[in-house]
């Protein structure tokens, strides 16, 4: 039988899916074991049990100075920044996507501009953002918006342009105004694509969030990672990295579920 026709059974499927994770864990555990054998205080590759203990402490115990549980505070402030940044980008992305896709006057004005703006590496703008928007919350949110908005606009305007011309002509024949066409023809077809685009831009959004927090902050997930890096607290860093991965995974899953529930007809496109 050809290899391309071999399909794993249910048990093998689970085994194969788990395999890379197990291999990664075993490789880490063995490497950590040998390093700790050499130097029991080694901080570079803490034993899995140490990481687990640290995680437990980070999730439940208050800080020595303030008594607050820092991990939850960090999570709350990072998620707030992320939500505002991604939310604003989604809103503007949708509006400009529809405008550029449906209104030729807007397309001629904005399409070229957005294409050029989207080429600017957002991290290169950081010093300018700091000077213009200060070091507070605003500049962190703006960095996320600057980072993902051009992508969203380009993706959504492209999708709008793909709407069959026939649909628009039909709507016009039925007497729809421009406004109605935007709302009743463009918007519903764009919403599932918007969720899809947000899912794809969440990775960069996290990247920009953490970059902003690393540079000037007093709380947040990225802030904590870059702070404890100063004394090689790999147990804390690993806990935070796993936590961020988990959060990102959950957000992605929630968006996928939302999309499936809200737009079952668009399933093929997801």
């Amino acid at each position: 039988m050809r290899l391309i026709n071999k399909k794993p059974g249910p048990a093998l499927s689970v085994f194969l899916a788990a395999l890379p994770f197990v291999l990664m864990f075993v490789a880490y555990a063995v490497a950590s074991y040998y390093r700790l054998l050499e130097n029991p205080s080694d901080k570079l590759l803490p034993a899995p049990a140490t990481v687990l203990e640290t995680a437990q402490r980070l999730f439940t115990e208050g800080d020595r100075r303030s008594g607050r549980i820092l991990l939850w505070h960090d999570t709350a402030s990072s998620l707030r920044r992320l939500a505002i940044g991604v939310g604003l980008s989604a809103l503007f992305g949708l509006v400009f996507g529809l405008l550029i896709g449906l209104i030729p006057l807007a397309r001629n004005t904005l399409a070229g501009f957005v294409a050029v703006i989207s080429m600017i590496p957002p991290l290169a703008l950081l010093p300018i953002l700091f000077i213009v928007f200060g070091l507070g919350e605003l500049s962190k949110v703006v960095l996320i918006v600057v980072g993902i908005l051009p992508f969203l606009i380009r993706d959504l305007s492209g999708r709008t342009l793909e709407i069959p011309r026939e649909q628009i002509v039909k709507a016009e024949t039925l007497g729809a105004s421009t406004w109605v066409i935007v709302l009743r023809v463009g918007l519903p077809q764009l919403l599932p694509r918007l969720i899809q685009a947000i899912r794809l831009s969440l990775g960069p959004a996290w990247l920009f969030l953490i970059a902003a927090e690393a540079i000037a902050s007093d709380q947040g997930l990225g802030y904590r990672i870059f702070l404890v890096r100063r004394y090689l607290a790999m147990d804390v860093i690993l806990t935070y990295v796993i936590w961020i991965t988990f959060l990102a995974f959950v957000i992605d899953w929630m968006l996928k579920t939302l999309s499936r529930k809200a737009f079952p007809w668009a399933e093929a496109g997801l």
Partner: protein, 354 residues
Amino acid sequence: MKKRHFLKTAILASTILASTAAPVIAQEKTEFRVAWSIYVGWMPWGYLEDSGIMDKWADKYGIDVEIVQINDYVESINQYTAGAFDGVSATNMDTLSIPSGGGVDTTALIVGDFSNGNDAVILKGEGDLASLAGAPVNLVELSVSHYLLARALDSAGLSEADLDGVINTSDADMIAAYATDDVQAVVTWNPLVSAIMEEPGANKLFDSSDIPGEIIDLMVVNTETLAANPDFGKAMVGAWYEVMGLMAAGDEEVLTAMAEASGTDLDGYKAQLASTQMFYDPAEAVSFTQGADLPETMTNVAAFLLDKGILGEGAPSPDFVGVEYPDGSVTGDPNNVTFRYDTTYMQMAADGAL
């Protein structure tokens, strides 16, 4: 059958990974690598490599020493701690918290200088230390800047809780940060201090000359590597004090090279040197290291590190790490000595025995 094969591969792969990740085991060797980063008192390391003086001394002892510049100071210490380098330029505080706190037995081979004004607390506008109360302060958290702030607040009867918090700000962005309206006060080091002091209204409240001898700049090396390779120590110290001699004599060519490497000009570099207590003469470094103040400074630093939670989880008390001094006395845990001040090699330089 298949499963066992996978398992074998996994174990093999991870063993290979482990062996590459294992720290360098001390043994006699002939090739050494040390890392340094830009700071007024460490510029000689760059000059040593570029001028060939390091090679000259390494050849004398039949070894090879490579001096590598790392742009990120903390990263250079982390790399040393991970075993990628045999030595690194670091302050006494960061040596205690990162390699020594991480169980890497480390020896201060060269005590190069102490900061005597290079680190400063700067307020925007009029006021004194008391006016920091209720204000946010931007600094590189957990660094010597943080330590300086703690000492400054102490001297004014304040504590960090009286501030509107400290905001971790990368040293790379400190000058841009100072220009924004959100920032009221910063703590940083040279050459940033001199750049910020040029801004109108910048008001220096406190600097390291108020706590002389507490922020010490070192070249630290792995203790086991040094013990197995005394020639490494001799070559490093010999080369270092040859350049110190040139600097003490005011060799403009040497100083200009260092100034340019640190991104300033001769006058700018001389101004920074003026707020640095360089030990040009090895005998001065030896007597400073043997001085009675050093154990007290290290105890203060350890208490500060514990207070900020920097010594890590395995550190139940500030005495967790033992620090040994040239006379053999120890502060902290005598069973966990991982930071040693050793004047043997500097003494050889002072005696002209290298």
